[in-house]
Amino acid sequence: MKMIVLVGVNHKTAPVAVREKIFSGCGQKSDLLSALKAIEGVEEVLYLSTCNRVEIVASVSDDVRALRALKAFLAQSGDLTATEAQSCLYEYRGGEAVRHLFRVAASLDSMVMGEAQILGQVKDAYREALEKYATGVVLNRLMHCSFRAAKRVRSETGIATNPVSVSHAAVELAKKIFGSLDGKKILLIGAGEMAELTGMQLIEKGAQSMIIVNRSLAQAELLAEKFHGEAAALDALEKKLIEADIVISSTGAPDFIVTADMLKKIHHQRKNRLLFLIDIAVPRDIAPAASELENVYLYNIDNLQDIVDENINARRREAVKAEKIVDEEVEKFIGWQKELDSVPTIVSLRNKAGDIVREELEKASGWMRNLKKEDQERIEGLIHAIVNKVLHAPVTVLKEESSDISSRDIVAAVRRLFRLD
């Protein structure tokens, strides 16, 4: 009986240094999948590697030997010590391996739960295995089931709906204020990394242009070149605030740079347009009193972090639903796999019946020759119908009972009764 096994390391079991070693060790092998398939007992194989995990999924005939060999392969590739291999590598077999793979594809095992990239990476790994003819009936089915589980988790739960990074939370808020970000102008005050990242994401979502205001004009120009935006010195801040729709501030200034009075002064020039202020500087750059102004929405780093924390909790709550979906899909796959065990017996049974029919028709060919062609065909049709009806019950029982623990006894009984071995 074929069994699915999985070995690997991930961000929970191994530090980045160990993951790196295995990743580059495996990457150096010219024909990795062929090397894995050459391992004794391994019939089908798939290799998955992302920045947070390296895993091998295989369909094997001897799970104990194959698992030992696959673990040794990973340890050797990463040049791991015995202790490292012992503590970092994990192994799953049967239903647990299936569940682990489904959880990985559905992003339940990711560092950022619900992130979207992992499914693409699993699909890429499968595509590569397909191209190298490393997978077969079992792994093909397993991978398609994992994609279905992941798709169901994404569409039936809210695991991926709420952003879990500060920059994404800021983008979501901007969308709640402006709807579409098309044509919106971003004003970056200071040139912090986080502000730059948030600005970049806003541009990706359709914001029109970026103005960078910085104490050092040279640095502002450097950043402006990167974003094809406009650079200005800090003295021009008030003028630039008139044009802006979204302001991201991240300077190291000890006092407030944007005050409520400043915003009140330019209120009319801005024609009452909505203004979204994101203050990710510590100490803060924008006076808290600004949030009391009409059509002005101010969020500081703590406010954004609170949203992120709430979203993480929401994802955890959704993960409970997601685990149930994974359980359902694992059960379906295991059912199919068990059914697969009874397939050779069903095929043998049908072949045997077919052989008997053929032999008996040959024997009867002497007297049947005297009959009309239509009558000969009718008799043959009748014989096939009778055989199919007789076989219908045992074949149905074999299929239905295949998911039951006693299926092996039934398969053995059928093989003995019909002398199939």
């Binding site: 979501e172 709640k176 204020i177 402006f178 709807g179 009452n272 009409e294 059509n295 929405y297 949203i307």
Partner: protein
């Protein structure tokens, strides 16, 4: 099959579809599924088509004259609601608004189903093309005003949630501030000229038939106050540049005046518009 039985079928089909659409919209809020709201929008569009068919039969029945009975009047309010909401859907994707509008449309349809059919809405002395135009335009324009005010109320809710940084389920469900402000803008921009044209038709009719006395009618005074308020808001928006929160709050105030011009006046006074 007679026109009246075809009209009956079209109206009741619209009623059933309106009920399904409302259930769909409210369920979409509960289960937070956009797809359900999308389906509900299509169901509402189907209800709108059936109501349009019904009014086509009404026109044919009354020899291409806008002669409504009490049932038709309430059904017409529902039809105008559907028309305005569905056309807004083309401009902005704010399906959650449907969860607020579709129950109102359904209420009008249920009320219409309870009314006696066949009895003319207007007394004999008020039946003229001018009153028909007056009714058609004022109802249609006022539905646009209601839509502008509802968007304003939703703006106030969303504004409060975003200001207090409670970015939770309700805030996610409500449309963006900009979209709501746009609906408010469109409601005023289209509603005001339509209502104005309706009022002009009414004034001409009143001047021709009654000559004096109609200007002090409580219904006319209150409606005029609501019309002036919405006109003031449109002026502030276009000329002064009011936007966002202030517009939203003032639209709420204008809605109160508009509601009083219907319900308050009907309960407290006897007016020339008693038939509505």
């Amino acid at each position: 099959m007679t026109f009246s039985s075809l009209e009956w079928i079209a109206f009741h089909a619209a009623l059933v579809l309106g009920a399904f659409s409302t259930m769909g919209y409210l369920s979409s809020l509960l289960v937070k599924r956009v797809k359900l709201a999308k389906i509900s929008t299509w169901i509402l569009a189907a209800a709108f088509v059936f109501l349009t068919v019904k009014f086509l039969f009404v026109f044919i029945r009354s020899s291409w004259f806008f002669n409504l009975d009490s049932q038709d009047f309430l059904a017409f309010c529902a039809w105008a609601g559907c028309a305005v909401y569905l056309s807004l859907q083309f401009k902005t994707k704010t399906r959650v608004l449907g969860a607020f509008i579709s129950p109102l449309i359904l209420l009008f349809l249920i009320a219409a189903a309870g009314e006696e059919a066949g009895k003319s809405l207007w007394p004999q002395n008020l039946q003229s093309s001018l009153t028909a135009v007056h009714l058609f335009l004022t109802i249609f324009g006022e539905v646009l005003f209601v839509m502008a005010s509802l968007a304003g109320l939703m703006f106030v809710m969303q504004n409060r949630l975003l200001k207090s940084r409670k970015f939770s389920g309700t805030s996610r469900l409500l449309p963006s501030l900009n979209d709501l402000d746009r609906i408010n803008h469109m409601g005023l921009l289209w509603g005001f000229p339509i209502v104005s044209a309706g009022i002009i038709a009414g004034v001409i009719f009143a001047e021709l038939s009654w000559k004096t006395g109609w200007m002090t009618d409580p219904k006319i005074v209150w409606t005029f106050a609501a019309w002036i308020t919405y006109g003031f808001l449109l002026h502030q928006r276009l000329a002064i540049g009011w936007k966002g929160y202030r517009m939203a709050v003032m639209s709420g105030v204008a809605l109160i005046l508009l509601a009083l011009s219907y319900c308050g006046v009907k309960l407290c006074f006897s007016t020339l518009h008693n038939f509505i």
